[in-house]
């Protein structure tokens, strides 16, 4: 009598490849960087749709932005902008430090960036409570809260990334070689994107 046997996965020779083939990627750009860039492109489109809605309300529908007697807190937003731009500097310092094997500098930079980002977010939430208008007060208010809120959510995501990176930094992760600090690099690119987006939000919502 013939008997059929099924090889157990553990019995297979080690050289045999299991699962899908290895992903192809360019040797000139890290897949992580490309992934973050594509993600940022999609995020820019998302912000673009919110900007379009705001400009439609302001320009096409010709709605005052904000209508009397409401006012946007421009001074607080300007200070918040300064805080966020500074946080880009500290983020860059963190990455510059780890590239030069300065672990303390990286930890300091990441923690400083985190707290500057947190300051920005708390100030924005505080601004919402004192604004004197709610999201249901009109299309202009929806546009304001939609756009600044969307940005706030991105800051929150950035803070989560920064918290993870800072924790890893204090646990001895990351090194001066490019492939050893990719996490900080990715978080940095994302953080600068959030920063640039805020500058545009500040300019279009509060200034122009």
């Amino acid at each position: 009598m013939e008997s059929a046997s099924i090889a157990h996965p553990h019995d297979l020779p080690h050289e045999e490849h299991h699962g899908p083939p290895a992903a192809h990627h360019s040797s000139r750009v890290h897949p992580q960087v490309l992934g973050v860039l594509l993600f940022i492109v999609s995020e820019a489109m998302l912000f673009g749709s919110f900007f379009t809605a705001m400009f439609f309300i302001r320009v096409v529908a010709n709605t005052p932005f904000p209508p009397e007697p409401f006012e946007f807190p421009v001074t607080v937003a300007a200070l918040n902008t300064a805080v966020l731009v500074s946080s880009s500097g500290t983020m860059h310092y963190a990455l510059h430090s780890i590239k030069h094997n300065n672990r303390f500098g990286m930890q300091l930079g990441l923690v400083a960036t985190f707290f500057l980002g947190l300051t920005f977010l708390c100030t924005q939430v505080n601004e919402y409570f004192k604004a004197g208008f709610a999201i249901h007060d009109g299309a202009w208010a929806s546009a304001f809260y939609g756009l600044t809120g969307l940005h706030g959510l991105h800051v929150f995501v950035g803070l989560t990334l920064l918290a993870i990176m800072a924790t890893r930094a204090f646990r001895g992760h990351f090194g001066p070689k490019t492939e050893d600090h990719m996490g900080v690099e990715m978080a940095g690119i994302y953080w600068h994107f959030v920063d640039v987006m805020w500058i545009i939000v500040f300019l279009t919502v509060y200034i122009l």
Binding site: S26, S27, S88, H192, F202, L203, L208
Partner: protein, 219 residues
Amino acid sequence: MINPLRSEQEAFRFTLIVAVLVAPIVLAAIIWDSGVALGVAGGLVVGLLFAFLIRREDRRPRRVDLRRRDTGDGTARILVVANETLTGAALRREIEQRCQGKDAEIRVVTPALNTRLKTWASDEDGARSAAAERLEKILSTLERDGLSAEGEIGDGDPVQAMEDELRKFPADEVIISTHPVGRSNWLERGVIERARERFEIPVTHVVVDLEREAGGAVT
């Protein structure tokens, strides 16, 4: 063109540029009103566009000063730049004609042609391996014909690939091989004119009609 946001450092630089550009608009809004700020923003956009156009204009006639090294050994040094037409008989004839009766050093450059999207994403491995394959073919054909040649894969922009190579290889002449008019992307992009504008050494254009050559081979 390369992706300007390839690293955190470049993203940081971009952030600073945006901040610096926005600062005068914000100042105008604080000192005067948002109407003036809008004017400043418009002025900045126009100024940036103007600067961009001027830079492009400046770039066009850029002439590269490549000091020709006279080796004095009577050897003809030829740089051949081609891609799909590398295997064409017309190009081979042109090279052989120049090498008749004298020593010659031939350097072949194959630009790693890529799509704009892949160039932007730095995904050029496929383009480089395709270029390497074509280069391998022409080098073995030339060797079979008794001509010794060396080859390199160059930048995706053919003129840039020439410039890169000319900095290392003191060529007396450049031969650029393309498809005929109407089928050649290089001719459409003015590669021959740009090369003649940029380099002082003679640039010869060879047209290779691969379709006709293939037809001739059959009949």
